[in-house]
Structures are given as C-alpha cells and as structure tokens.
Symmetry: D3
Subunit: 132 residues, 6 copies
C-alpha cells in the first residue's frame, strides 16, 4: 500500500491531471502506473520527476531500449522490486527479447561480483586508468 | 595497495600465466590491469572469474559496448571506484562517445532517484506488471 | 514470516519482558511491533539494540522528528521495506506532515541521484572540502 | 581525476556559464565546486540537476539545514566520499554544530544496523503499519 | 512471479535437466528451488552459476557452514529477501543453531553501522593498515 | 582527513581516555586506530559503539575469526574502504590465512552476483523456505 494511497485521475487536481495526460500521450497509452499515482501527493515532485524522465529517456546518443535496460540493471542492483517489475515491462515493450534480458542479467550479476572482489582485495586504480 | 600485493607476469605460476596470456590475447593488448594481478593469489578464482567474464562479455544478443555501459552503470551505483575507472576505459575503447557516457550517467542517476521514491512511498506493484 | 517466529509477551522470559515493558513505557503505548518480537530470540541483541535506540532517538541537539525522518531516508535508500513502514509511522506520530514527507523523499531521491553522478564522473574532492 | 576533466568558468560555453552564474548567485559565493565542473560536459544534465537541486533544497516544510543533514545521511549510507565531504561542508555552513553532526551520524549508523537486522530476521510488516 | 515463469523438470531441455540432476545429486535432495527454475531460461547462465556455486561452496579452507553464514550476511546487507530465505535454510541444514544465527546477525548489523560511521566521519585509513 | 580531526590520547578527556584504555587492554595492544580517534568527538557514541563491538565480537557460538570474516564480507559488500582495511588486518591477526581470505572473497562475490540475479528475475520465495 502506498504511504498516502493512490491518486486516481478522477480525483486529481488540474496540475496533476496535466502531468497524467502528458504521460499517457507520450507513452501512447490510456493507463497510469502506481508510481505516478503515489507521488502525485506532491505535485512539484510529480512534475519534476516526469519531466526529467521524459528528457532522459528520449532517443539520443543511446536508444530507448538501451536506456530501459540500464534502468533494469540499476534497479536489480539496488533491489527495488517495483522498479525491476515496471522497467522490465517497459524494456520488453521497447523490444527486449528473452535473450537480451538474459545477457543483461548476466552482465549486471557479474559486475556486482567483481565490484566486491575489487573492494575486498583493495585493488588500487592503475595509473593508465587515471590518465586515460 | 592490494591486500596481498600484485602478482606480476614474471613471478606468476604457469597456471596464472596461462590466464594472463589468454587475457592479453583476447583483449589484443600486452598489458594486465591490477584487478587480475590482485586476485591471482587465488588461481581458482582468477580462472573462474576470467572465464565467466569472457563468456559474458562476448558479442551476443547485446553488443560488447552495451555490455560495458551496463557494467559502468552498476559500478557507479555500487560506488566501486576501481570498477568505474576500469570499465569506463573499456567502454571508451569499445566506442562509447562523450555523449553516450553523459546519457548513460543521466539514466543511471535517475534510476537511483526513482528507486528510492518507489521505496519511500511504498508503491505496490501494479497488477499489470505482475501478469505481463 | 520471521525466521524463528515472534515471541509474544505471554511467552517471553523475564529479561525479554523487562525490555518489552520498557519499550511500552518509553513509547507510551500498549503495543510491541514485530521487529522486537523477532529479535527477542536473542535477548542480548534485543536489550543492546533497544538501549542504543532509546539513547540515540531521545531529544538532543536534534529533535525526535528530525531523527525519525533521517531514519526514513536511510531506510528508503537501503530499500528496507519493514523499516520504511515502521519509521514512517513513527515520524507521522512525531508530527511529520504530508508536505514534510514529500520534501524528505525529494531530498533523499536527489541525494541518491547525485551520489551516482559523482561516482560515475569520478569527481575528485575539492581541496576546500578537505581542509574545511 | 574527473572522467573528462573539469570545465572552468573561462572555458565554459554561454549556457554552462549561465548555470555557473546562477549557482554562485544562489549560494552567495564566487566559487564552483568540482561536481558541477565535471558534469558540465553534459549541459543538459548540468542544467536539469542544478534546477532540481535548487527547487528541492530551498526552504519549505523542512528548513535547509535539515535537508542538508538528510543529504549527508544518505551519502554516508551510500558511501559516496565526494558527497559526504561536500554536503557536510554545506550543512556546517547552514548551521550544523558538532553535536548535531554527532547525533546525525548516530541515527544514520543505527538505521543501517537495524535495517539489516530486519532483513536478516525476515520480519514481516505489522498490520498496523499497513493500514496507518 | 518470476519474470519468465519457472521451468519445471518435465519441461526442461536435456542441458537444463543435466544441471538440475547435478544440483539434486550434489545436495542429496529431490527438489529444485525457484532460483534455478527461473534462471533456467538462460541455460548458459544456469550452468555457469551452478558450477561456480558448487566450486565455491565446497569444503576448503573454510567449512560449508561458515560459507553459508557469509552468504546470509551479504544477502541481509543487500536486502535480497529471496537470498536471505534460501541461504538461511541452507545454513540451518548445514548446522547453524539459533545462537549462531543470532551472533551472525549481531555482527552483520554492527558492521553495517560502523561502515557508515567510518564513511560519515571521513576516517582516513591508518598507515599501519596500508602496510600490513 | 576525518571530519573533525583525530583526538589523540594526550588531548583526550578522562571519559574518552577510559574507553581508549579499555580498547588497548582488551586488544592487548598499545595502539588506537583512527576510527576511534575520529568518533571520540562524540564520547557517547564512542562508548556505546565500543561496548557494543566488545560484546558482539567476543567468543560465543561463533569464534572471533569467523566474526571478523563476516565483518570483512559485509564491508566489501558496502564498499567501505576503511572497514575492509581494518577488519582484514584484524582477521589476519586472528588467524585468517591467505587461503581463507580467498575463499571468503569468492563467497562474498558470488553472493553479490546471485543476489542480483534473484532480484532481476523476480524470483518468488519457495513455499518450503517460508515454513521451514
């Protein structure tokens, strides 16, 4: 259960509704997922977060699918169940196949392992990496 | 300083040297970075880790550049300084431009922010994400 | 389900019951939440943890509400669902309004984002911060 | 060393310089810390991050000092050395005394401890916390 | 619900079935837990992960019980609910008593607390630790 | 540099000196490491932390070496450089051989990898683990 409940479209203030409308138009859907309905209790954060996400996830030097997969890798690393579920759904919608998901997980898992080996063995950064 | 010092090629046992040779051949370089020289005190872990990395990072459903960028995103999330430095160098060698790096960081940063908003607002996973 | 089940007041040993009594007296309530009933299997940890919490959370240079909000920010960062739920309840009881919660989450989310940008961009600490 | 070096005011493009000017004016200082000079390689992220920070850290339901202390607690939890150093400096400038810092650390440390006890003992969330 | 559902023994391909057979034989059980059935969608990761686990968890300089307890400590630190549940079960099967579990949690909890105190107080590593 | 500098024995107040004396007596050494000198600015936290550590790390159902190794595994997972360095030194003093350290790191690294695979594949906890 979200801390303060979820704000549905019908109950929403005009400023919240404007963000909801933009989310649905941008994503070409008629549906708002719980994350937005929860943070809608704070319209300033709702608007800033949505506009940041929209700016960051649009096609650029990286395509939207790659960006969604990075989002999944970070969310799995942080153990955020909601975020893994929602961004895995987004990544699949953007074209992630089962094979791509499997490799994504393999890389993310391995990175988590070697990050700790580097920490535990107290490995000093190579001079070449400092000056490259 | 690595916990037990670094094992240079000249001091290495034949089994360690075989891994070093494979690393250099696979990466088309004449250089071994500190991570491998540190974990070489444990030849079993050295061999297993290198063979896992080699299997995981080879071209597949995802290209090597995408894989290196995922590695950087995870390492920045975990705050592993060594891993950020080494995999940023690898990603640049694999073709990551400054623009790609900037977008990678923007996505990874945003994912870390929204992961915590989802946690803090105690957002429940949407039914649609459970059944998709 | 807690690893070893929950120890209710009626089943508790005298030393566990003494801690439960002190928790209820200090908090002016007739209720013990699951966290304490779970760690009560280890009376030494129960007593030490409760006494540490009591010492740390009492009014001092920081007021109890500020302390509860810091607890929530850390728990959301760590993704501990139980801790977010229990300390959000405590913070609200101590006077946290919806507006305060919203700003708390905004700051905690932003800190998690910029923490990773600083890691990923490998930003060196400014000389002024070292000597201040 | 930052990944792509630091962009000093004199080398900066007009759009970056405009952000730098706003940072210095808002903070009433003539100095830009390394974080901004590092992410200035990506003017879009620079502008978005600064404007988000400015919006979030301004006085509201929580005062700026409380917000800086929350920033420090999150940064210490994440182990971001740069962020601990810079936000501890900001918090002290905003009025954090040594006693307040000591209590801040005590709470943040304790939260990290009990977060893990709750995880390890697999404590289930109390019904009262779900419905409050 | 696992992302792609669970692969039961009857539906499994011969290569997946071979890994399942080895898991059951090694663990002297007739049962496969969900983790393996979920990652079986990626037979390469399934095989590599199982063989790594088997190599790492076998008796060596550390006994299997100590290894399982380290696994639990890491999993509680990372907040991975599945991993805490499964490795706590393994550790108990390997001989972990309630008293050992309690001390394990006390140490893991304390380590998480002092880790953050060291970060927050920005404690520099002692010269003696660098050269030891 | 520690946030408020280090408090040496000669400058210490009687209550801080009493803790320093107990640390040296308990550890049979004439030396205090930086962690204690940094948190000594807060004598209440110094005393509580030292007494908690002393209680937790004493021989019990787990021996001191096992406890130090768990401390190292948690610290490497959290990426706390100071804590890895100091507790690796303590573990070696308590009898940890190079082989034991290597296995400790292998287990901790693997746990970090599979923790993220479990998160990413959204593996549901087996019924058997819930009721065991």
């Amino acid at each position: 259960m979200a801390t303060y409940g979820l704000i549905e479209y019908d109950q929403a203030s005009p400023e919240v509704r404007a963000v909801y409308d933009d989310i649905m138009a941008t994503r070409n859907t008629d549906w708002i997922n719980n994350f937005w309905k929860a943070i809608a209790h704070d319209p300033v954060t709702l608007k800033r977060t949505w506009e940041s996400i929209k700016e960051i996830m649009r096609p650029g030097a990286l395509d939207p699918l790659t960006k969604e997969m990075i989002y999944v890798a970070v969310s799995a690393t942080n153990g955020c169940g909601y975020c893994v579920a929602s961004h895995t759904a987004s990544a699949r919608k953007a074209g992630m196949t089962q094979e791509m998901f499997a490799e994504l997980m393999a890389v993310a898992g391995m990175a988590n392992e070697t990050n700790r080996l580097a920490n535990g063995y107290q490995v000093e950064t190579d001079e070449r990496f400092r000056t490259s």
